[in-house]
Symmetry: C2
Subunit: 601 residues, 2 copies
């Protein structure tokens, strides 16, 4: 049976030395996040997910959700009880504002907990995850009355929330949506249309589900500029907050899909359902992007979270399974065979997973800190820089993070050999679950286009310049620290050089033909992912060497960090050179063929 | 619903211009393979798999196999009828020797058909696929009586065959097997033990199943040197060939696995089953490798076969689905949106799949030709060279081919966006099916170790030197052909340089520490895969340019070949540089950590 141990020690190391939480104690809300409180969140939260959510992960995948004839949906056995405990223990309220019943913890702390929750049970974590996205949109764009009516019970976890964007004919291109919103005399709207792929769209965990729905009002332009956002509760809410009549929104079916079986992915039918406008008419896309940006960071975290559990199990298997002998002679001659740990190619796979999960953990937490800083930093300049950086890196954390999450899950499965393919061992579930993260909330190709097509050029390239400055500055500092740190910094400098050269190539060639930029977008996203994760490793190297120099910290743990950083430099970073060459190939061979010439049949 | 069209035109082009079938017409058996006969095999065989096997592929995945209380197993609806047609149409007998009822077609021709069969229904294709492996072992090592008793009905498809190697405690390390073979007074053996992961181990397609089983005789050494091979029919066969009593071999359970649901993966219990030694006692490993090498090439073909179908569907979807606008302005302003074909990143994904599937098709067929030549070439020198080349490249075709097959299936699924994750669209099945090919018949890590640990060094490096000579010779010829051909040859020369430098690095560092070689094995396998596939593309470029120069052939088809080759050079080949740098990183950072330091938790 699979196992999971929350990586508290690593999270703690990253919060201390990469995020440097203590330097931000003066920010609003951060004062509460004392080391003791943070430790309690990590320890107790980790314990909760490992003991309550993880045990129903494999069984939840095997059972899946069930839709009944009346349109109701039941989650797998144990989910309802686990959710009840989740709510009663207060884990739902971690990052929400105090005025709506939340604990107002920094986003960086709640993100650390969310990683554990995903690792333990990704399909479960999506129920509160979607609710958080809906809360964020209501807080940002809802009226005070809407906030007061819906948000407290969503924060507590009593009610759930969803995002309703996709329709059968459109996902990425939301200008094509057909769902209609007809204004009614009482100020409400009558919503009619079909939404698909609605995660957590219907289930039995909460007494109400607050749907946020994109629709078009009469006469709205036939493009994304004509979209408005509506709040459509499953059960209408009376002014006193009590539940009223059932609204005309039903789950038409649930999808049979590759993974995340325990999360209900619904076709939602709106048949003249009553909804209310959130924010301004025809400004729905902006409101949607508030949910979407938070969701993208959450999906990046899913890449990491699933990869971590897959990796932990691969490590355990490599220690248990005996096959063959070390190339340098039997490591344990008394045994009939050595463990998988003696084989360099098995270790190569494990080290890839280790270097990437630890690096992505740091990147996700650093990214979460930027979200905090963008809202709470003391000066406008600091807030702007943080906002620029997280805007730039959101598609990278989502796209690179989930591409790598899937790779790691696949690699961890590979360590198991044939047993990795068998359901009861649990490894193939991680691959199937990780796969969706590359697709939803904008495919990774869409992330890459967002990066090169929007984020690079915004505000005259201010964000990417800020990122280059950040990385180059830390490289310069690191070179001055000590020899070992300088060596890693030198490797990162080369990767940064490939990123900068690729950026220049886009600038020089993109104006003449934007397809040159589009053709290199995915490779560029990966170079930036390698550099950003490399920056995280640089910080870990600096901290480890500094601590070792003064004899502080756990020498074995810090030594492992240095070994893993060296692996990252030797085995991950070389890809930036190849990716740069691919970008410089341009788009000619990609755009040349007529569609009918793709098939050689 | 998914679709599949056999790529006959591409196969034909490869057989003519890469394999150059007409140059080998003087070989035994090749005279029968006239262009007309080959075309008939491709056209009719393609028609058969598309019309009979493909329609039960998705339904077979959804239904899976069922084991009944009596140990019998039924295949999904439609499989029995399809298998009956497969046998009646004679497709089972294509490559088998005439003396046992086969059609004695060249292996290269039957391989072309097998690709189509896999593309249409990988799980189905495994039933006859395993039978072919068992036939090969019996023909090579069985007694004349065994051949006459078993082989004709296996060739016809009336009986099936299996390979029984893996046990719960061992897969790769077969020295650890525990299955016992006790000699009986009548010359037979009593076989007792448990085998797992036995593909096609029990099913309802054939009246008998001839199991080939690895077991240990009393007193045999406790290593792979103590293994013997036995033939153990499910139903005992009387001397006259008729069926006798049921043997004591039963299916204990079938595995619930990630994919290939329609192939029964069985736990097989041998409870004093009657078996007969095949070949010499304690020479089972050599006999097993006859099955294994053929099986590895077949698994490499699975990588290609599944990838091809996934790719074809991605192309179809890209033409149907409308989302967004071309970066250079609306391509079809009258429509609400352009098709996915306008987006460079979608085309990047499709071109990756196209360049790799067409390249791998050529490589698999070229590899099959080497198998033919190793047996049938006129001179000992030619036979040796072919045997050297296919020995070297078998792990590459298996390992690189299936790594890429899985990547392509994943990429094709990505083109579908959210719909790719939904079972009814069929794309996620290809990913799950393709996944096993990286694992069975020796994981791809084992393939990589076979390549660098055995094949490189064998006979003083004769095989790899022959490969270098072959590639370098064709590069030199191509440079003399024309400017366009020379340009592609120059790119391949650079990739070959990375392969040669990596080989040299192993030679210089492997003696001192064999872990340096093991740590680079997987990267090395990929460089060799890129170079070998690059050689296939070089041949296609040469043929296309030569034909275009004289105004022969279909200019659009040949033009597409040249565009795709350019893509291969620009977007696939750059990886050899990064892979080489990874190899040159050696094994220090990979071997450094104590097992308990892998987890940062």
């Amino acid at each position: 049976m699979p196992q999971y141990t929350p990586p508290v020690r690593d999270t703690r190391f990253i919060l201390d030395h990469v995020v440097q939480l203590d330097k931000h104690a003066n920010l609003p809300g951060f004062a509460n996040a004392t080391p003791d409180v943070v430790n309690a969140v990590l320890e107790e939260g980790g314990k909760f997910v490992a003991e309550v959510l993880f045990p129903v992960n494999l069984s939840g995948d095997q059972q899946g959700c069930t839709r009944h004839a009346d349109g109701s949906v039941t989650t797998p056995d144990g989910f309802k009880e686990a959710y009840k405990q989740f709510v009663e223990s207060g884990w739902a309220t971690l990052a929400a504002p105090e005025e709506f019943g939340g604990q107002a913890m920094p986003h960086v702390v709640s993100t650390a907990f969310e990683e554990y929750m995903i690792s333990a049970n990704m399909a479960f974590a999506m129920y509160p995850g979607l609710t958080h996205g809906a809360i964020a949109a209501l807080l940002a764009k809802g009226s005070q009355a809407q906030k007061e009516l819906y948000v407290p019970k969503m924060v507590s976890g009593e009610w759930g929330g969803t995002m309703n964007l996709t329709e059968p004919q459109c996902g990425t291109d939301l200008g094509l949506i057909k769902t209609k919103a007809e204004p009614q005399a009482d100020g409400s709207y009558s919503i009619t249309g079909t939404k698909i792929f609605i995660s957590s769209g219907e289930h039995d965990l909460t007494s109400n589900i607050i749907h946020l729905v994109l629709a078009k009002t009469p006469g709205a332009p036939d493009s994304s500029k004509g979209i408005s956002l509506f709040v459509v509760p499953k059960v209408l809410v009376k002014e006193d907050g009590s539940l009223g009549a059932r609204n005309a929104v039903t789950c038409g079916s649930i999808e049979h899909k590759m993974g995340i079986h325990a999360n209900s992915t619904c076709v939602m039918n709106y048949d003249g359902a009553t909804g209310w406008l959130v924010g301004d008419e025809m400004k729905g896309l902006a409101a949607m992007f508030i949910m979407m940006n938070a969701a993208r960071l959450g999906v990046g975290l899913q890449g990491l979270g699933v990869a971590e559990t897959a990796y932990q199990n691969a490590v355990a298997y490599a220690g248990d399974r005996r096959q063959g002998r070390a190339l340098t002679g039997a490591a344990e001659p008394a045994e009939k065979a050595d463990t998988l740990f003696v084989h360099p190619d098995v270790r190569r796979m494990l080290m890839e997973a280790k270097a990437l999960t630890e690096g992505l953990r740091a990147l996700c937490l650093w990214g979460a800190l930027q979200v905090d800083l963008a809202h709470k930093a003391a000066t406008e300049e600091e807030r702007e820089t943080a906002d620029d950086l997280i805007g730039l890196l959101t598609p990278v954390i989502k796209g690179y993070g989930t591409d790598k999450g899937y790779d790691i899950a696949t690699t961890a499965q590979q360590v198991y050999g044939g047993h990795g393919y068998i359901a009861e061992w649990g490894m193939e579930q991680y691959v199937r679950d990780a796969r969706i993260a590359m697709i939803y909330e904008g495919t990774n190709g869409v992330q890459a286009m967002d990066l090169v097509g929007r984020k690079l050029a915004q505000k005259g390239g201010r964000a990417v310049q800020a990122f280059f400055k950040l990385v180059a500055g830390e490289i310069a500092d690191a070179k001055a620290q000590d020899e070992a740190t300088a060596q890693f910094a030198g490797r990162l400098e080369k990767a940064l050089g490939d990123l900068q050269a690729s950026t220049m190539w886009f600038m020089a060639n993109g104006m003449q033909n934007p397809n040159h930029v589009g053709a290199g977008a995915h490779s560029y996203m990966h170079i930036m992912g390698i550099v950003a994760t490399g920056l995280m490793w640089l910080r870990m190297v600096r901290a480890a060497n500094a601590l070792l120099a003064v004899g502080e910290g756990d020498a074995k743990f810090l030594g492992a960090k240095l070994v893993t950083a060296r692996f990252y430099a030797e085995r991950i970073m070389p890809d930036t050179g190849a990716l740069r060459r691919k970008i410089e190939g341009g788009s000619d061979s990609i755009m040349a063929l007529d569609p009918e010439m793709f098939l050689a049949a």
